[in-house]
């Protein structure tokens, strides 16, 4: 079946199967940041934003994304300028091996959009579904805290 998917502001006419996952559909369109880590909704490597909410793309039927705004990490740096979460991740060394990084940044973006000043516990709870294979959550937590500060100062300034 043919569906219209809007990814990072670009429209695509995509041929998807009735039971196809959004993860498989996005990868077929070339969005390879949407990684197939577990295909079971456990690891968060396939995280995308769907109308601003972070979801496991492996657990969403692709046809249902029609009419929504999808965001992958490829579309996250507006006009080439890095998002505060990306800058903070580079500054703190949070990118590590990089496999989980797109998912962590997108999940954190959902958190900060709905809760601009989260506690450490809320940040940790939010990352419950984004597995880091380097087993190093300290740097991503630092990066999100730093991004909170950057965004607040940006808003104040």
């Amino acid at each position: 079946m043919r569906v219209q998917l809007t990814v990072n502001g670009t429209g695509h006419a995509a041929d998807v199967g009735p039971g196809e996952s959004l993860m498989d559909a996005l990868r077929a369109l070339g969005y390879k940041s949407v990684k197939n880590g577990c295909d079971h909704g456990d690891c968060g490597s396939c995280t995308v934003l769907m109308d601003g909410r972070a979801v496991n793309a492996c657990l969403v039927f692709a046809y249902r994304a029609e009419g929504t705004e999808l965001t992958t990490i490829e579309g996250f740096a507006a006009e080439g300028a890095l998002h505060a979460l990306q800058t903070a991740s580079l500054d703190t060394g949070a990118v590590q091996c990089g496999f989980c990084t797109p998912g962590i940044i997108l999940t954190a973006a959902d958190l900060l959009a709905h809760n601009p000043d989260p506690t450490d516990r809320e940040i940790a709870e939010t990352l419950a579904g984004n597995y880091c294979r380097c087993t190093g959550y300290t740097k991503p937590l630092e990066a999100i805290r730093e991004a909170v500060t950057m965004l607040r100062e940006g808003a104040d300034g």
């Binding site: 199967g17 657990l59 046809y63 709870e125 939010t126 579904g129």
Partner: protein, 280 residues
């Protein structure tokens, strides 16, 4: 996980139409997370409930009507629901899957499973009702719906109802699991109201015993009329252990669960008591 056995989906325009499409090879589609994970091989048709206006939370004079297509995240973020019983629902929902899953999974889809639920004990102490359609509409207490295994029949869940909480009441939820959002080894929820000196109203529910959650009237009786103190909570915990026959499964032994029932009920009661009379 792409499900290659699915051949089509239908988008009914009414509940009646959706119900008519229900058959052995079809499944109603809420968030779809369970269908994607478990991909039942007999399912070839999805009945998409997305177009039936089941996605709103309505305030009803201190209570709420929650459409079956409301996501778990939307329940957590709804200001009224989030504050109900001093924060019982968000305290529980943060343990249900990850935010990534809660942004997709719906309350109707969750309850239609009839099993493996942190949501059920919390909704039971909140005295939630559930509304469904099987040719006509029905509404019953959630506990009755689960006890009669209505979820196994040919029906569609349309809504849950949450009545107003007794004045000043507070609740709490406790979960035991190996890691943060894993399936519970055991869970417990409670809700209490007092007149300042004595407990005037109480509900206690325990789940994953390993059966799905159920109210424990004996524990509520041990609380009612007594002061909200450690001794009362110990008595209620003991009553719950006495009343519930815990079972074995791969997650825990009956003996271990029986211990956890006492600990979980006591901790939930202590947490709820700490919120009584406060802002939550």
């Amino acid at each position: 996980m792409s499900v290659h056995t699915i051949e089509q989906h239908v988008r009914p325009a009414s509940i009646e139409e959706a119900f008519a499409a229900l058959g052995p090879g079809s499944r109603p589609l809420g968030g779809g997370t369970d269908l994607m994970l478990h991909a039942p091989p007999e399912v070839t048709t999805l009945i998409d409930l997305g177009g039936l206006s089941l996605d709103a939370v309505e305030d009803t004079d201190g209570g709420y009507r929650v459409g079956a297509m409301v996501t778990l995240t939307e329940m957590m973020e709804h200001p009224g629901l989030a504050g109900h019983f001093g924060g019982l629902l968000p305290e529980m929902l943060v343990h249900v899957g990850s935010p990534l899953l809660r942004n997709i999974a719906t309350i109707g889809g969750h309850l239609a499973r009839g099993r493996l639920s942190d949501v059920v004990p919390a909704l039971l102490v909140a005295e939630a009702t559930i509304r469904w359609f099987d040719g006509s509409y029905h509404e019953a207490p959630l506990g009755e719906f689960l006890a009669e295994e209505v979820h196994r029949t040919r029906m569609l869940i349309t809504e849950i109802g949450i009545p107003p909480a007794p004045a000043g009441a507070a609740g709490a939820f406790v979960k035991f699991s190996r890691v943060f959002y894993d399936i519970a080894i055991l869970n417990a929820a409670c809700a209490l109201a007092t007149d300042g000196g004595a407990i005037t109203w109480a509900r206690v529910a325990v789940g994953e015993t390993p059966r799905v959650g159920a109210l424990v009237p004996a524990a509520a009786e041990a609380l009612t009329g007594n002061p909200p103190t450690g001794a009362t909570f110990e008595a209620a915990a003991a009553a719950a252990r006495e009343a519930i026959e815990a079972g074995d499964d791969g997650r825990a032994s009956a003996e271990y669960r029986s211990q956890l029932i006492g600990v979980g009920v006591r901790r939930a009661l202590e947490a709820a008591a700490g919120r009584l009379g406060g802002a939550g």
